[in-house]
Symmetry: C2
């Protein structure tokens, strides 16, 4: 037989509003049945939303129950619906015929039709494949998918090429103990902490590159802002005039992604009552300036003088929100001591780097900066730190044979999602979270 290469346009059933008065066929999964005397409302999960259908007759006789897959033939009619989960609210489907295609063995162990899924985080994650069926849980990941799409379309429009770096590596990019190791056919190997080295290689090839892929950190933290496997949105690009070009690119990327969200997933944003920031400009403050502000305005003075404590990130967000009406703030010129060996030092003060973090609603979501492109400068900085440049020859070779001035960043997708949707825990913004004790589902 011959398989056609044309698929039916699925979206034709999406806009029921255009189909009022017409006979349609609807396939979906029964979300909720409200049986009344002689008729029933059947809410059906179909094509991305929950559609109200109306059955005339005794529903008990049809075998239709929650979790069934059904094929409905019916007529679209106008209606005024109130159920928060139903979309569209101005029409419904009058059922002429309903057939059950598959039936669950059991009804769900919790009620996914309630306004809020209140089963606690442990059970929610243990039964993620079921708890995600709640419309508000589902909405989190529908928004996340759209967010990634918005980011990707911005990068592609701006001539970034998508790269694919290996996840099994011989060296960690960040160093330290926070790295998972494994046996690779008798060799010791690691799971990548960051595509940093590969991004820089690829700047030498494509000039502008990005990757949105998993990275792994064996951090022994079990907090509401840590997971051990996360999605890193990485970009890196050459021909920069200053490291501020990187901040500018990120601001534009987020602005574009947020505008994409508003067009793509209004139903889900509304369901979760998400306030999507309207980015105009983002203030950038220098690290030492931030330290001063926090000390002066909030009377807080944590001991670590080379990094910001979580409380400082919260306070500077608060400050910037009041002073600049911005939910984002770039913090620049982090001390050299706390930045990796490939970070470019500030030409005016070698104790500082031309690097930055981006703080969004009190949490750091991005680390980035300009990188050293000159071979001699890189080797000197490595030697100065007691590293042996020969161990990193596979990396420094890219510099030896020429790289343009470049920089980039890594943005944590789950943290961005968490802050955007204002959910309690980064794990709640992760489809299948991994933490120190959680390896399933």
């Amino acid at each position: 037989m011959e398989i056609s290469a044309i698929v039916e346009e699925r979206s034709k059933y999406l806009n029921l509003l255009d189909l009022v008065g017409e006979e349609i066929e609807l396939k979906g999964v029964v979300f909720k049945v409200r049986g009344l005397s002689g008729f029933a409302f059947i809410l059906v999960n179909a094509y991305g939303t929950i559609i109200q259908t109306v059955y005339t007759g005794e529903i008990g006789e049809t075998g239709v129950k929650e979790g069934c897959s059904v094929v409905i033939k019916g007529k679209v009619s106008e209606a005024k619906l109130k159920d928060a989960f139903v979309e569209p609210k101005s029409c419904e489907v009058q059922i002429n015929e309903i057939n059950v295609v598959s039936s669950p063995k059991e009804l769900l162990p919790f009620d996914i039709t309630k306004k809020k899924l209140d089963i606690g985080n442990d059970l929610k994650f243990d039964l993620r494949y079921l708890s995600m069926r709640h419309p508000k849980e589902k909405a989190i990941f529908r928004i996340q998918s759209s967010l990634v799409q918005g980011i990707r379309s911005f990068l592609i429009e701006n001539k970034f090429v998508e790269i694919r770096s290996p996840k099994i590596v011989a060296e960690g990019a960040e160093g330290g103990a926070n790295i998972f190791s494994m046996d690779y056919f008798g060799q010791k190997a690691y799971l990548t902490q960051s595509p940093q080295f590969y991004k820089e290689f690829c700047v030498g090839v494509f000039d502008r590159v990005f990757e949105i892929a998993p990275v792994f950190r064996a951090e022994k933290h079990n907090t509401n802002r840590h997971i051990n496997e996360y999605t890193s949105i990485d970009f890196e690009f050459g021909q920069i005039d200053s490291f501020y070009d990187i901040l500018n690119m990120e601001a534009a990327m987020l602005k574009h992604a947020f505008e994409h969200l508003k067009k793509d997933v209004p139903y889900e944003l509304d369901l979760l009552q998400v306030e999507v920031p309207d980015i105009k400009t983002i203030p950038a403050l220098k690290f030492w300036e931030v330290k001063e502000i926090i000390k002066k305005e909030y009377k807080i003075d944590p001991k670590d003088s080379f990094d910001l404590a979580p409380i400082e990130e919260i306070k500077i967000s608060d400050y910037v929100k009041k002073k600049y009406d911005s939910e984002f703030v770039f913090i620049t010129h982090y001390p050299t001591a706390k930045r990796p060996f490939y970070a470019m030092d500030d030409a005016e003060d070698p104790e500082l780097t031309v690097s930055f973090d981006l703080i969004f609603r009190g949490v750091e979501i991005t680390t980035g900066g300009q990188r050293i492109h000159d071979f001699d400068q890189l080797v000197a900085k490595m030697s100065g730190r007691g590293m042996n440049p020969a161990d990193f020859e596979f990396f420094t070779n890219a510099h030896k044979y020429g790289l343009p001035p470049h920089g980039g960043l890594g943005l944590g997708l789950e943290r961005l999602t968490q802050r955007l949707l204002n959910v309690d825990n980064i794990k709640s913004a992760t489809m299948f979270p991994r933490d120190m004790t959680r390896l399933t589902p």
Copy 2:
């Protein structure tokens, strides 16, 4: 300071043809310098292609050499260029001013300006970060990036939601010994072989889902069609009427992706002389029918009666090319014995499954099929195979609480790229390949 959220439109310099007679600024990396008496041609890698610029004066005095990053100010003028790598060929830039922004320490250890990079595969992979700078190597991955984009845009238009399954897992989806293991905070964990279980979970949530992400196979094969870390393009969707819906979706997806390629990367396709198939329909033959054809037409009868040997895949491709003028062929109804426990058996013959492979130019690039959605049927099949369904409760729970009839597939990106571009080895179609002995770069 305030960071703007608007970026300069980079594409304005892409179409030099529109800028003839105008003064422009060009930033890029010097690809080749051809110094002549009193003037020089400088080919510059800029914004995705190689642009010819002309310098009047003694180039030796400027410090410009191959691998330098430069900023050029000049005027676009008409020209007729022949260099295969240069694009556009009908104009060039007359340099008024050229400034060197960064310089390599050394010139590349091989010539990337030659028509073909003939350094052998070992060196090519050892120095991948340099060998990819050759325009033809670079073109492979520029095309691959575009291919992924074409596939993704098809899936998103067709309402598939992008999911993110974990790469560190407690159970392999394929079972067997071909799985990498690791220590996860004192627990034994594995690297995912396939997102299969997670895709099926997510069909119960979103109905249509996809993921394009790395998977890992600890296969001890070192052939030209195996790598140990590859990119799997996975989709899965519900509400199917028959398993042929899945084949139809894949045919449409590939058709869309190939049409996208032709629009997006004509320069690279031309450089590699790629013949992009024009998909109309794709023939589908049943497994036993294929075995008969090969025996009869090619006098080949390999011993494995439940699977196709590589030679059989080559022969059936040849047959289909002649008979149907198609470079693709679906092979359906593989024997139950060789398919995983979650594969749906054929209602007419339980020795067969409603599953398929897709063969492209002699190589299997996809495995897919309809999955069992009914809980009792799944548990019975597992028990019949001597598996303990309780060990897979986290998977079968999704079925217990209701899944629609569904199916999907996994398509190997690198194999697809290799066959499309007709390169010698799957590793040549992998940016940073991993095989039994290769763990770097």
